[in-house]
């Protein structure tokens, strides 16, 4: 069979096989909302940059003014040795973060509605700096009644986290509260590892039975799921995949197992500080 005939037969077969593959009917809206978020971030970046530039110009002007006014260079901040009051140190967050307290039944608590941030230590990644601590932060946003999450990497040199790239920021996502299930996906990339890695955090209610993942482990066998070491089922799920579908199984009020599927579209991109996809969309 010639190449052309093979190609035609191939196309005919693939048309039949792919006939059922249909895009999300809301795809255009998803892309537009992503685009809007990207524009807002871009504009916010310009605003921040402008403010920093103005602050820099003001500081430089004051410096030059003080230097030229007195004929000698004056430090804008008095030195401690000259008897100036010692600045009050700001309280640094504990490092490593404290182990979160479990409920008696072995489950980790969900964030309270006060906005308090719960911090959960995560397992380090292969490329993390020695002595670093990866932390997942989860909180409740009372304004939107969403659960939000973000990640950070703390090191002895940078105990407040951050330290470049997406470590401090990652990207936050929200979840949709449910009577029995709090599900959601957050995509974030660790700053110190491969920028293409994506973490997906699923925040589950206490009736969760198990968690599975779809769309991973197939044609790319190295893209697989895993659980955090030593963590009880049904608290958080961390995946290294770009756009997996996560399936939560949980018990309804009658004790029946219910399957709930949620998908994170749009992997973290670039240096990981972008999370463009509609997060936690359910279907």
């Amino acid at each position: 069979m010639s190449d052309e005939n093979t190609g035609l037969a191939l196309r005919e077969h693939l048309e039949h096989v792919l006939a059922g593959v249909q895009p999300d009917p809301m795809l255009a809206q998803h892309v537009r909302s992503q685009h809007r978020r990207r524009v807002r971030r871009y504009q916010a970046g310009i605003a921040t940059g402008s403010a920093l530039a103005v602050a820099g110009i003001v500081a430089a002007t004051m410096w030059i003014g003080s230097a030229t006014g007195s004929g000698t260079v004056v430090h804008p901040m008095p030195l401690a040795s000259e008897g100036s009051p010692t600045p009050t140190p700001t309280a640094a967050p504990s490092y490593p973060p404290a182990e979160p307290q479990k409920f008696a039944d072995g489950h980790y608590p969900l964030p309270p509605p006060t906005g308090e941030i719960l911090r959960f230590p995560l397992r380090s990644e292969p490329n993390d700096p020695p002595g670093s601590q990866r932390t997942l932060m989860v909180w409740h946003n009372a304004d939107t009644n969403d659960y939000c999450a973000d990640s950070t990497v703390q090191t002895p040199e940078h105990p407040t986290g951050g330290g470049g790239g997406s470590a401090g920021g990652g990207c936050a996502g929200t979840t949709s509260p449910d009577e029995h299930l709090l599900s959601g996906l957050v995509l974030a990339s660790p700053a110190c590892g491969d920028e293409s890695w994506s973490f997906i955090f699923g925040v589950l209610g206490r009736n969760a039975v198990k968690v599975t993942a779809e769309g991973v482990g197939g044609p790319d066998p190295e893209v697989v799921t895993r659980r955090l070491d030593g963590w009880d089922m049904s608290v958080f799920l961390v995946l290294d995949a770009e756009a997996p579908t996560v399936v939560f199984h949980y018990l309804d009020a009658d004790g029946h197992e219910v399957r709930h599927q949620t998908q994170g579209h749009g992997a973290a991109t670039g240096n990981g500080n972008v999370c463009d996809g509609p997060i936690g969309t359910t279907r």
Binding site: T6, L10, V17, L18, V31, H35, S196, D220, T225, G277
Partner: protein, 164 residues
């Protein structure tokens, strides 16, 4: 950056089924990866809609090819890990996630080296000419021809093996 308008929506609604299938094939039959790839490509198109609106299909197709190449590079750098899902459960999940992944032709297509797969998909699925394919892949027409020919030879071999 200007916001894309109704014409962008019309384009997505009209063309995304075909583009999604191309994306799925470029991802070796992974529907979820294909969906993700298409969304990323459309986001790029939305960001440059003023320029892309002249020929948005070609623009999106080029973005798909580039993003698929980037994806393969990223995946090749990712260290292997073991799954915590039991094998039988993972199989069940995979079955639910995608039915096209079991098709012998899709499996054979997935086995092709990436450039051969891209060439075959663009030439015979997208029905592009050798010149257009070469432009998209950023290579010479001779390279497209050799990749296409080798890809088809390999496909025949793989499919003959699967029939036995």
């Amino acid at each position: 950056m200007t916001a894309p308008g109704q014409d962008f929506d019309d384009f997505v609604v009209g063309r995304s089924p075909m583009l999604l299938r191309t994306a799925v094939l470029l991802c070796g039959g992974d529907v979820h990866a294909g969906e993700d790839l298409l969304q990323q490509a459309l986001l790029k198109v939305a960001g440059r809609w003023r320029a892309a609106s002249e020929n948005p299909t070609a623009y999106t197709r080029a973005a798909l090819v580039n993003l698929a190449r980037d994806r393969r590079r990223r995946l090749s750098r990712r260290p292997a890990e073991a799954s915590w899902i039991a094998a039988s459960e993972a199989d069940l999940v995979a079955d639910q996630a995608s039915t096209i992944g079991d098709d012998v032709v899709v499996v054979a297509l997935r086995e092709l080296p990436s450039r051969q797969r891209t060439a075959v998909v663009l030439r015979f699925w997208e029905d592009l000419s050798v010149d257009e394919t070469a432009q998209l892949m950023g290579c010479s027409t001779g390279t497209v021809k050799s990749n296409t020919s080798r890809g088809l030879d390999r496909l025949r071999l793989l499919l003959a093996g699967s029939e036995r």
